[in-house]
Symmetry: C2
Subunit: 277 residues, 2 copies
Amino acid sequence: MELWYTEKQNDNLKLSCRVTKTLHVEKTPFQSMAVLETPGFGRALILDGIVQTTVWDEYIYHEMIAHVPLNTHPSPKKVLIIGGGDGGTAREVVRHPMVQAAVMVEIDERVVAASRAFLPELSSGLDDPKLDLRFEDGIKHVEACENEYDVIIIDSTDPVGPAVGLFSGGFYRKVHKALKEDGLFAAQTESPLFDLNFIARINDDVGAVFPIVRQYLACVPSYPGGLWSFTMGSKKFDPVLTPPASVPELPYRYYNKSIHLAAFMLPQFMQDFLGRG
Amino acid sequence: MELWYTEKQNDNLKLSCRVTKTLHVEKTPFQSMAVLETPGFGRALILDGIVQTTVWDEYIYHEMIAHVPLNTHPSPKKVLIIGGGDGGTAREVVRHPMVQAAVMVEIDERVVAASRAFLPELSSGLDDPKLDLRFEDGIKHVEACENEYDVIIIDSTDPVGPAVGLFSGGFYRKVHKALKEDGLFAAQTESPLFDLNFIARINDDVGAVFPIVRQYLACVPSYPGGLWSFTMGSKKFDPVLTPPASVPELPYRYYNKSIHLAAFMLPQFMQDFLGRG
């Protein structure tokens, strides 16, 4: 028997990967969840029918969402992670030598439980003594903070369902308040090829609150179209004008100092659309 | 009725796109060929069951395979294109203001005929007076040349079927001979995520003939995994050490001077594998 998982990435595009085993299926209070064993991508975490991460390519997304903001800030001592229930972002944050304390706020405790059970490569950092893991609403946590974090990383699902509020102008104002006076944040912000209007809207919303707003890119094979965007809002440090002074020696698989700079070099169609042509 | 084209990109991965019409199906002397109308990707050219190009994302591949080598060479007056039957690479080459003459050698006349009939966006450059279009074996053409070209672009299908010979060490020696003393070439060289051993072999084969060998990357959504590699072999100009002095003002959609530099910044896993870590 051949078993295939097929994700309808949009109305006109489907990605299918061979499955050897369905390891876990659950309806959590927030979303439907599955963990699949695949020969091509390793284990894959699916939320509401969308691949969140696979063991095969997760390092690209997690290194880029974590180390780009961490190394843009010269002293990322206190870090907040919103979402990221699989643990991959936390794993990258806690291994950064300058990080002294990280708070991770995940709304869905069941995602963390599934990752601990089935995705040890991702969840390995969740028990690090630097990490304070809380199961609560990221928006409420941010609302209660003022001048607290050097770096905030918003590792959310797509802007549907529980994550919608994490992509609003009102939320970015709260993030601004929760950051210290030289703080910055990064968030995953969908596909430049399929969602350029969305990225432009986020660019405007972040730009209305932060003096510096930049997009950066990486190619994540398990996401629609491969090319994926992240948006950074920063109070002081411009990643394009101030390249990372020092990048700690870590066993990166995708990220490095050159990639850090290259990721901010946008294709012409993005520059034109965002009015930077 | 829903009609979908499904490409088995490897044993464990399939990409499907919705099809509204099968515009053309043909068995040429060299390969099977189809042109499909798709709502997601526009018209798509399929050779031997593999998507070669789609109107929606072709600009990424064609701008990167053409303008990166053209702008690495300070004076790309005479250019050879091997393959590229859809015409997309020729379109980019002839619009470069420094190019005085381009020869395009395509083995399969039927691909050019189909592109002229169904893909005018790609084939538009094929009638340019700068272009000398020949239907013959690219390997034989290169064998007969000595000290003739400034830039050679190898725009081939995957290394199976008619294109196998275009990925051999012997062929790179012939390319070296066909180039002028400061000439350089670029070729598409498959996926770094799925074919890293292949890229390393090409790196060694090119490095055995050319003093400078570099890989560069772009994200092409219709290719497996998105991330795609190109390899450049150069006698004199190192694209990493000598950024393009001048990039002509053209209506690029993906390429620009920043992307030119960023494309050579390789992910750590590639640097490690190629011994440049």
